[in-house]
Symmetry: C2
Subunit: 198 residues, 2 copies
């Protein structure tokens, strides 16, 4: 059973090493991991051709995969990497179940409050004051770890988001929650809830 | 022809008014706009049921749509809203063409440098030093307005990202680039490059 391994760790300097360790862990759980090759582009000149090739390669890997295991650790902001979010949406539309982990604890609501700041009390019109932030926009209050569309895609897949309970020292390299997510995927497979794609 | 109007303006206090203006503009160009109802959740108690209903509603609207017009203005960080990114991926997987606008100018590369800061010179290992940021991860250097997967999905759709040339005073309410994107979509329709979904 093939797992597409989405996540912003492709931007690490040692992305290939992290990818190698992820594939090893997949194998230990009886899965075959597919790691995108996003790490390569930075060395090549013809950016336009290369960007198209990476895009096509990632889409082809996702079409091959039976499921997605996404790293939804917040990336340069309060939420997940938008490239990974795109991939979760793409794979979910093709009927691939999606599991995920996040190495940053807490709800989006609380991270957004901490990062953006509260609006003046009484400033909110239509919504609830406690969801209204200093940037003039609301933040969702569903108890979710991140945006509704991501959280509900996992829920609809009947697969978990495995989330850190406390901050992680090296959130883009720590693979302990990745391993926990593989455990959950192996259980789903044993329970017949994870079938190979046709 | 139906356009799904993705974007984080659903989090505005006056989301319904923005939605109404967007639908009016769509009509002026001969399109029928579909605006997600994300604005409602903040008033309701049973968050779990409501989140599932919003998710199901948004997916159903996207399945109905012939194309997506996404607001990819950076949202609480250097990149687009991850919920919108999810929707772009979902719709693209179903073969819907995607057009987009962004009310923030510039490349992702430059925004990320400004927000995160440069790494120490010589710190980069595998990649190019000018893409290596203070958070220990690279940023893409493809000349794109945002993440590769988003930019290439628009490219593959043969539809533009209409991007601000200078900062916009009210980036989540300003609809002038939304209107420009509708112009581009109307041209694509006239050229036969935008067909109704089967």
């Amino acid at each position: 059973m093939k797992l597409y391994l989405a996540g912003p760790e492709v931007f690490l300097d040692d992305a290939r090493e992290i990818g190698r360790r992820k594939l090893e862990l997949c194998e230990r759980f009886g899965f075959s991991g597919l790691f995108p090759i996003d790490g390569e582009p930075l060395l090549v000149d013809d950016a336009g051709t290369l960007a198209r090739a990476i895009f096509a390669n990632n889409l082809a890997l996702m079409r091959t995969a039976d499921a997605v295991l996404a790293n939804l650790t917040p990336f340069r902001g309060v939420s997940a990497d938008p490239g990974t979010a795109f991939e979760v949406g793409f794979a979910f539309a093709l009927g691939k179940p999606v599991a995920a982990y996040s190495n940053v604890p807490g709800q989006l609501l609380h991270r957004a409050h901490a990062a953006i700041g509260h609006a003046a009390i009484g400033a909110a019109g239509a919504g609830s004051a406690h969801t209204f932030l200093a940037d003039g926009l609301h933040v969702e209050d569903f108890g979710h770890f991140d945006n509704l569309m991501l959280a509900e895609a996992l829920e609809a897949s009947r697969l978990p988001v495995v989330q850190a309970q406390t901050p992680t020292a090296d959130p883009f390299r720590d693979l302990s929650l990745f391993e926990q997510t593989l455990t959950a995927l192996a259980e789903a497979r044993a329970a017949g809830r994870l079938a190979p794609s046709p």
